[in-house]
């Protein structure tokens, strides 16, 4: 489904601020796999997402979706196949437009946009059904401006917008990090539900190790632009925070400190 082959990217090459954000990264994700990505600040997690979405072009290497190389393809074309939720709740929705209009724009993601009305009666019914599944009462506020919603509500809406067209790939980049703990938990639960419901191939970056353990079928840990740990299946099920910390120490010979990652 998704393949990264020898992807490398260096920012500001040859200057004082040179940053090897990705170093020869190889990943192969099967259809329906749910990958959680952890790693300290600056490990290259967001860059990995950006390389897949096309907002950043790698120096070398290629990204394949369904066996097709997408590296030269522009971001907006790629996003037909990719649903994304950003860390910033403001980033994923248009605040001056209504809930139904935002959903209509997301609904058009994998289709050709036309001169037909974006919000039709039929679509309203569909949107209402999907919103009702979130259990936030948003189905009664279809014509409310999104700017009036709370951060958690916006993030739930973004999540729905990213998933309900069943994209080939779903990418979540610390999408609960800006929320208070109870809202974060709510969004985490909704995430598990929608990924399950639509059987999406998913990459989720998280700062929160517990979340990385609770969700997903596979886990990778990144450090300094490299994948240093990759566990799946039963082994992933049996992981604990303590085991992860020990693994990091064994591989890197240094301790993963609290300020580098949130433990639980």
């Amino acid at each position: 489904m998704l393949q990264l082959k020898q992807v490398s990217l260096t920012f500001n090459e040859g200057t004082m601020d040179e940053k090897k954000a990705l170093q020869n990264v190889n990943i192969e994700l099967k259809s329906g796999e749910f990958l959680t990505v952890i790693g300290s600040n600056g490990a290259g997690k967001s860059t990995l997402m950006n390389v897949i979405s096309g907002s950043v072009i790698p120096d070398t290497g290629n990204v394949y979706i369904d066996g097709k190389a997408v590296t030269p393809m522009q971001e907006y074309k790629r996003s037909r196949m990719i649903g994304r939720v950003f860390q910033d709740p403001m980033a994923g929705t248009a605040p001056s437009m209504t809930i139904e209009e935002n959903l209509a724009m997301a609904w058009a993601r994998d289709k050709k946009r036309s001169l037909k009305p974006g919000v039709s009666k039929k679509r309203k019914t569909l949107f209402r059904e999907h919103l009702a599944a979130l259990n936030l009462g948003l189905e009664d506020r279809l014509s409310a401006k999104v700017g009036l919603l709370s951060g958690g509500e916006r993030q739930a809406l973004s999540l729905l917008m990213a998933t309900f067209t069943e994209p080939n790939i779903l990418m979540l980049d610390e999408h609960t990090a800006a929320l208070d703990p109870s809202r974060a938990e709510l969004i985490t639960n909704i995430t598990g539900d929608v990924v399950e419901k639509f059987q999406l191939t998913t990459l989720m970056v998280t700062h929160n190790m517990q979340q990385a353990l609770d969700l997903g079928t596979r886990l990778i840990m990144m450090d300094k632009g490299q994948i240093i740990l990759d566990v799946a299946g039963k082994e992933k099920q049996e992981l604990t925070i303590e085991k992860l910390l020990n693994e990091f120490q064994r591989i890197r010979g240094e301790q993963l400190t609290n300020d580098k990652a949130v433990l639980g």
Partner: protein, 333 residues
């Protein structure tokens, strides 16, 4: 007096098309496009030249509009593909258009249309062909409307453009266009080509501006190289006045507000020009003062309202405290 009043309304309705174009760029796309000063003249020049050369006025008007669309698209291209900032892209295009407009007008800075058949003379002719036109004209001229067919035609055309704009902004493409002005990153992640949408949007905006220019030329009886100077400020004034007076609840409301703003702007200007010490040359100064007023007044009103609200809150609190005190004293006695 009434003649001047209805004259102002008539001009306002024609300029409202230009204001709708400015609304599309400044508000919907959040793109401060200054092409307007040039593309307004482009619309006027192209239609005037076709008319002078014997083409039907309707076709001439549509071609003027198309030329404006093209000019806008180039501004959009300068910004999206040339990576030039929006203000500068517009200014560059405006400057370039000044020369281009002179070329279009065959090197003259003024093309008179006085004895040509224009959209307005055709409409008037059509109307006067009806049997009832004479008595109606006579009646209306007593209240100050000298040529009813023109004002009605302008109103219908502007309303048609308004409804088309409202419809367009709710289509799938229209929604993506609005989101481009609201949150580019988001709509790009929803597979919209934001560069293409900006080019399209600025093109449509300038098409409306050019349409307005074409009509103003045919209404006034000439196209002039300098007729676009300060047009952007007039457009902005209309948008700002309209939004402040009529609100921004929905798209349909805003487009109506913009038309209302354009008409009110004209009325204010025509009233100002009646003041003895002001003359036609002061127009631009009057415009600037109106815009400054329209920008500052809502803020002043808002802060006044805030202050009053705070004072009221304070009064309520001290009243409650006094009442509490009174109760305590009663309890102790």
């Amino acid at each position: 007096m009434m003649v001047a009043f209805f004259g102002a309304i008539e001009t306002g309705i024609i300029y409202a098309l230009m204001a709708l174009g400015v609304y599309l760029s400044f508000r919907v796309l959040d793109f401060p496009d200054l092409t307007v000063d040039g593309s307004f003249v482009t619309g006027a020049a192209v239609s005037a030249m076709f008319i002078v050369n014997g083409q039907p006025p309707l076709a001439a008007t549509i071609l003027g509009m198309a030329a404006g669309f093209l000019a806008g698209c180039i501004t959009g291209l300068l910004h999206t593909k040339g990576k030039i900032n929006p203000l500068l892209s517009g200014i560059l295009m405006m400057i370039a258009l000044y020369s281009i407009n002179l070329r279009i007008m065959g090197g003259q800075s003024n093309v008179p249309l006085l004895n040509e058949s224009t959209l307005f003379t055709s409409i008037t002719g059509l109307w006067n062909g009806f049997g009832i036109s004479q008595p109606v004209n006579q009646f209306l001229s007593t209240i100050g409307i000298t040529n009813p067919s023109i004002i009605i035609f302008a109103l219908i055309l502007t309303l048609v453009v308004k409804f088309l704009t409202d419809y367009f902004l709710k289509t799938e493409i229209g929604l993506a266009l609005r989101a481009t002005g609201d949150n580019k990153r988001m709509i790009r992640s929803l597979s919209a080509n934001t560069d293409g949408l900006i080019i399209l949007g600025i093109g449509l905006s300038n098409a409306l501006v050019a349409l307005s220019g074409a009509l103003v030329a045919q209404h006034g009886g000439f196209a002039d190289a300098g007729m676009g100077i300060g047009m952007i400020i007039i457009g902005l004034a209309s948008v700002i006045i309209g939004e402040a007076l009529f609100g921004t609840k929905s798209i349909a409301r805003i487009t109506l507000a913009v038309i209302g703003g354009a008409v009110i702007y004209r009325i204010v200007v025509s009233l100002a020009l009646r003041v003895d010490f002001l003359e036609t040359g002061d127009m631009k100064l009057i415009t600037a003062v109106i815009v400054i007023g329209a920008l500052i007044t809502p803020k002043v009103l808002e802060s006044r309202r805030e202050k009053r609200r705070r004072l009221r809150k304070k009064a309520e609190l001290s009243e409650a405290a006094a009442a509490e005190e009174g109760r305590n004293q009663n309890a102790s006695t």
